[in-house]
C-alpha cells in the first residue's frame, strides 16, 4: 500500500484541562476525498488546524507524505486551506487573491497570472478576476477561496465546513462542484462537515468523530448500513432502537419501518421483526406521513418508534389510537452490539468507488 497523503498518529490536543482531540489515529488516502463528520464541538476543526499547522498537537505526530510535519509551520507545509469565513483578502482583487500563494512561492509574473486565471476558470469565475471580494456573492466568494487554495497545487486541500454559509440549493450544487474539482485535479481533499448527507454524498472515505475521538471510518457504502454504535446510528439518521429477542441492540430507519393493519397477512421473511403497536401521532409532511407509535420490542421493553408512511403506500395512513402492526425487514436492521459475527456485513475493499 502507498504512503497515505497524511497521517495522524496518536494525536491529542488539550486546551487547559479540556481534551479537544483525544489520541486520534487517522490516515488520509491519497487522491481521495475524506470527510471528518461529527456534531458541533467534537474536534473536527481542531484536527484540521493541526493538519494545517495552525495548532501544534499536545502529543502525537503528524506525517505529511510520510515525513514528520508535527512542528512544521503552516507556510512550509504546502497545503491549501479553505476557511469557513473564506478569509479572502479584502484589499486585493480576486485575481490577486488567487495568485497570492504563487507570489509567495516566487512564481514569475506571467506564469502566476496564467495559473491564477486557470484556477479561476476551474471554479467558473474566469470573468471576475478584477473584482474585489466584497463585490461577490457568498457562493462566488466561496469559489474564489477554493480557487486560491487550489492554485498552488497543494499536497492536501483542507476545507472547513466550506458549504455551511451557503443557502440550501447552492450547497447541494457546490457538493457536486467540489467533487468535480477533486476528480479533475486529483487532489487529496479533507473536508470537515457536520452534515451527514454532505458527507455521504461527497466522501470516498468518511471519518466519524465524537468528543475528540474517531468512532468509525470507512467508505459511506460500508458505514451507512452498519453504524458501529448507537451514537453513529443516531447521527446517520437511524431513529428507532430496539432490543431483539436474543438481547442484541438494533437500529432501524423510519423509512424502513412498515406500518400495516393489525390483521394484515405476514408475507415477509420469517425472520422479519414484527411488532404490535398503537399509533400515537400522525404528522403530514408532503412526500410522507410521519407516524409515531408505542410498541413493545421483542425483548419486552416498551419503545417509542417513528415510521415514514409513504404517500404511494398501498394502505392509507393510520389515525391516532389505531392498533397496527410494524414490520422491520431483517435486512434493514443495523445491529449495534459488536458481538455479532454472522450479521456484520462484509467490509468492501478500499478503492471501489
Amino acid at each position: 500500500m502507498t504512503t497515505p497523503a497524511a497521517e495522524l498518529v496518536g494525536v491529542t490536543q488539550r486546551f487547559g484541562s479540556f481534551t479537544a482531540v483525544d489520541a486520534v489515529d487517522l490516515r488520509i488516502p491519497r487522491g481521495r476525498l475524506t470527510t471528518l463528520l461529527g456534531p458541533s464541538g467534537c474536534g473536527k476543526t481542531t484536527t484540521l488546524r493541526m493538519l494545517a499547522g495552525y495548532a501544534t498537537p499536545t502529543s502525537g505526530r503528524i506525517l505529511i507524505d510520510g515525513q514528520d510535519a508535527t512542528r512544521t509551520p503552516p507556510e512550509k507545509r504546502d497545503l491549501g486551506m479553505v476557511f469557513q469565513s473564506y478569509a479572502l483578502f479584502p484589499h486585493l482583487t480576486v485575481a490577486d487573491n488567487v495568485a497570492y500563494g504563487l507570489t509567495m512561492r516566487k512564481v514569475p509574473a506571467p506564469e502566476r497570472r496564467r495559473r491564477a486565471a486557470e484556477a479561476l476558470e476551474l471554479v467558473g469565475l474566469g470573468h471576475l478576476g478584477d473584482r474585489r471580494p466584497k463585490q461577490l456573492s457568498g457562493g462566488q466568494q466561496q469559489r474564489v477561496a477554493l480557487a486560491r487554495a487550489v492554485a498552488v497545487r497543494p499536497r492536501l486541500l483542507l476545507l472547513d465546513e466550506p458549504l455551511s454559509n451557503l443557502d440550501a440549493r447552492l450547497r447541494v450544487q457546490m457538493r457536486a462542484e467540489i467533487r468535480r474539482i477533486q476528480s479533475e485535479t486529483g487532489l487529496t481533499v479533507v473536508l470537515v462537515t457536520h452534515d451527514q448527507d454532505e458527507a455521504l454524498e461527497m466522501s470516498d472515505e468518511m471519518v466519524l468523530m465524537r468528543a475528540g475521538k474517531v468512532v468509525q471510518s470507512g467508505a459511506p457504502r460500508d458505514v451507512f448500513p452498519a453504524p458501529a454504535d448507537r451514537f453513529v446510528a443516531e447521527f446517520l439518521g437511524y431513529e428507532n432502537f430496539l432490543t431483539l429477542a436474543d438481547g442484541r441492540e438494533a437500529a432501524v430507519r423510519p423509512e424502513h419501518l412498515r406500518v400495516v393493519t393489525a390483521d394484515a397477512p405476514l408475507d415477509g421473511r420469517v425472520d422479519d421483526v414484527v411488532l404490535d403497536a398503537v399509533v400515537r401521532d400522525v404528522a403530514y409532511r408532503g412526500v410522507d406521513v410521519l407516524v409515531t407509535l408505542d410498541a413493545t420490542d421483542p425483548a419486552g421493553t416498551a419503545v417509542r418508534l417513528v415510521a415514514d408512511h409513504r404517500a404511494e403506500d398501498e394502505t392509507p395512513a393510520p389515525s391516532p389510537g389505531a392498533r397496527v402492526r410494524l414490520v422491520a425487514p431483517r435486512a434493514r436492521l443495523a445491529l449495534l452490539t459488536p458481538a455479532a459475527p454472522a450479521a456484520a456485513p462484509a467490509t468492501a475493499p478500499e478503492g471501489n468507488r
Binding site: 495552525y54 503552516p74 476557511f83 478569509a87 483578502f89 500563494g101
Partner: protein, 268 residues
C-alpha cells in the same frame, strides 16, 4: 446616526446646548480675528485681514508653528511605531497578562498630564540630562500611545484573524503575512490614529508648558505667553488659522476614512 439619538427631547436639548457651548466661543474668536480695531473685543470694530497678516509675519508664532509641527509629526510616528506592535501583542499574541499590558499603554489617558510632565521633568531632564526637545518628544509620544493602541486595535479587531492564517497557509512567513495582509488591514486605523495623535500633540498645553525652554516652544505655549503680555487680536487671528487648518485635516479625514471609524475606535 444622530437622527436616532436626537429623538428624545431632553437628549435633543442637551445636544443643542452642547453644540452652543462648544461653537459659540469659537464664533467669538473667529469674529474678533477679522476686526479692524486693535483690541481683543466683541463685537469687532470694522472688517479687515490686518491681524492675519500680523500673525503670519510675527516670527515667534511662525517658529513655534514649525516646532509644533515637527514635534507632532515625530511624536505621532513614534507612537505608531511603538503602538502597533503592542496592539498586535494585545489582540493576536499568546502572551499572559494581555489586559495588564493594554492597561499600561492606556494609562496616559488617566494620569493627569501635569503629573506626567512633572515626572518627565524630574526624571529625564534633571535626572538623565536629556535635552528639552527629547523630553518633550518622549512626553508627547507617551501621551499619544493610548490613541495609537486603541484606534489601531479597533481596526485590528474588525479584521478576521483567519486572514493572517490564510496568508501563512499560502506560504507567507509571519513577517511577509504582516506586511502583505495585516498592515493593509490596519491602514484606516493607522490614518485615524495618526491624525488624532497629530492634532492631540499639536494642541497640547500642559506637557509643553512644563517642559518648554527659551529655544523650543510649541505654538499653544507661545500663544499663551503672548496673551499674557498683550491684548491685541493677533492671537485670535492665529487661532483662526489653526482652526482652519484643523478643519481641512478633519475634512480630509472624513473623506478618506470617515469620522465614525476614527472616533468609534476610542469609544470602545
Amino acid at each position: 446616526m444622530s437622527g436616532t439619538r436626537l429623538r428624545h427631547p431632553v437628549a435633543a436639548a442637551l445636544a443643542v446646548a452642547g453644540y452652543v457651548i462648544m461653537i459659540v466661543p469659537i464664533g467669538f474668536v473667529v469674529a474678533t480675528a477679522f476686526t479692524a480695531g486693535s483690541t481683543l473685543r466683541f463685537p469687532p470694530e470694522g472688517l479687515s485681514l490686518t491681524w492675519f497678516g500680523e500673525a503670519v509675519a510675527y516670527s515667534p508664532f511662525m517658529e513655534a508653528v514649525v516646532s509644533s509641527l515637527e514635534l507632532a509629526a515625530l511624536a505621532t510616528a513614534l507612537a505608531l511605531v511603538l503602538g502597533v506592535p503592542v496592539t498586535l501583542a494585545v489582540h493576536r499574541g499568546r502572551i499572559p497578562g494581555r489586559g495588564l499590558l493594554e492597561g499600561l499603554f492606556l494609562s496616559p489617558l488617566v494620569v493627569p498630564e501635569l503629573v506626567v510632565g512633572l515626572a518627565l521633568y524630574q526624571q529625564l531632564m534633571i535626572g538623565l540630562h536629556l535635552d528639552n526637545f527629547t523630553t518633550l518628544l518622549l512626553g508627547h509620544t507617551a501621551l499619544l500611545l493610548p490613541y495609537a493602541v486603541r484606534v489601531t486595535g479597533a481596526s485590528l479587531a474588525l479584521a478576521d484573524p483567519a486572514l493572517e492564517e490564510a496568508a501563512r497557509g499560502l506560504g507567507a512567513s509571519p513577517v511577509r503575512a504582516f506586511f502583505t495582509v495585516t498592515l493593509p488591514m490596519l491602514r484606516p486605523g493607522l490614518v485615524s490614529a495618526g491624525l488624532l495623535g497629530f492634532v492631540t500633540s499639536f494642541n497640547n498645553v500642559p506637557l509643553s508648558l512644563l517642559l518648554q525652554t527659551r529655544d523650543f516652544r510649541t505654538l499653544p505655549v507661545t500663544m499663551l505667553d503672548y496673551v499674557q503680555q498683550s491684548y491685541d487680536p493677533m492671537v485670535a487671528a492665529a487661532s483662526t488659522l489653526v482652526l482652519a487648518a484643523t478643519v481641512v485635516v478633519a475634512v480630509v479625514a472624513e473623506r478618506t476614512v470617515g469620522f465614525a471609524k476614527i472616533f468609534g475606535g476610542i469609544n470602545r
